[in-house]
Point group: C2
Chain length 128, copies 2
Amino acid sequence: MTETTTPKYKVKKAPRFSDHPEPGYALRGRIWLEKDGELYVGWGRVMLLERIDQLGSISRAARSMGLGYRNAWLWVEAMNRLAPAPLVEKSSGGAGGGHARLTLAGHEVIAEYKALRARFQEFLKQSA
Amino acid sequence: MTETTTPKYKVKKAPRFSDHPEPGYALRGRIWLEKDGELYVGWGRVMLLERIDQLGSISRAARSMGLGYRNAWLWVEAMNRLAPAPLVEKSSGGAGGGHARLTLAGHEVIAEYKALRARFQEFLKQSA
DNA sequence: GAGCGTTATATCGGTCGTAATATAACCAGT
DNA sequence: ACTGGTTATATTACGACCGATATAACGCTC
């Protein structure tokens, strides 16, 4: 008999951002900010904010990072709702169809999170 | 008209372990160990190892922490496979139906991860 | 060898998040 | 007015993970 090597169980997954599946053992981790237990800012959202800042629109930012527009829009919506002041200023219609720009608060959040993340990466490296 | 307040979108989630949904802003995070990009040890798995050590069986450990036996078994299987040496020693049949015990390596992994986690908690507190 | 509780394994169904798709609203330019 | 690309929103479909369930294998005890 051909004994089709029983496929066992599959365990893999495909995380969304910044995965460097190195060989051997590795210490990995994630950090994020919550507001009242709800996700406020994480790495993906910060990347989105940066792209919006660079490209001027949610849809372009989403496309550029392989993210669906729907999700991108939901994320922006959530961040604006959870932040003390909106991070992204949106407008539909008009020249070019519309646009989205970062507010000062948006830029600040990017800077804060990236600084935090840098310290965290350092922590992971130290602890490895 | 009664205008049934459009339910909008839902965003909530229900993480598995150690969640303390505090009000206001909070820095949260998770760390885990991977082997070749696959999850090796995380908080849930360490909890499982501890329960196995205390209760002497996978099924009792699983029940005690509201985890399905299937998952508990899969986790143990994965950990044993990914570890340099098995963390859990299993045997079926016999007195009591069978049992599972931690190896020395199992105890070491628990200690290592918990120490790491403690440092991480400290990091989160400092960075908040 | 019958019983028992555990390990071991397969299968089905629900749930949840995301992808894909579709469509409307918007509005400065022309 | 019409155009064009974006924001805004709903709907559907799909795939992964988990819970529940079922059943076999195991081996000590009686």
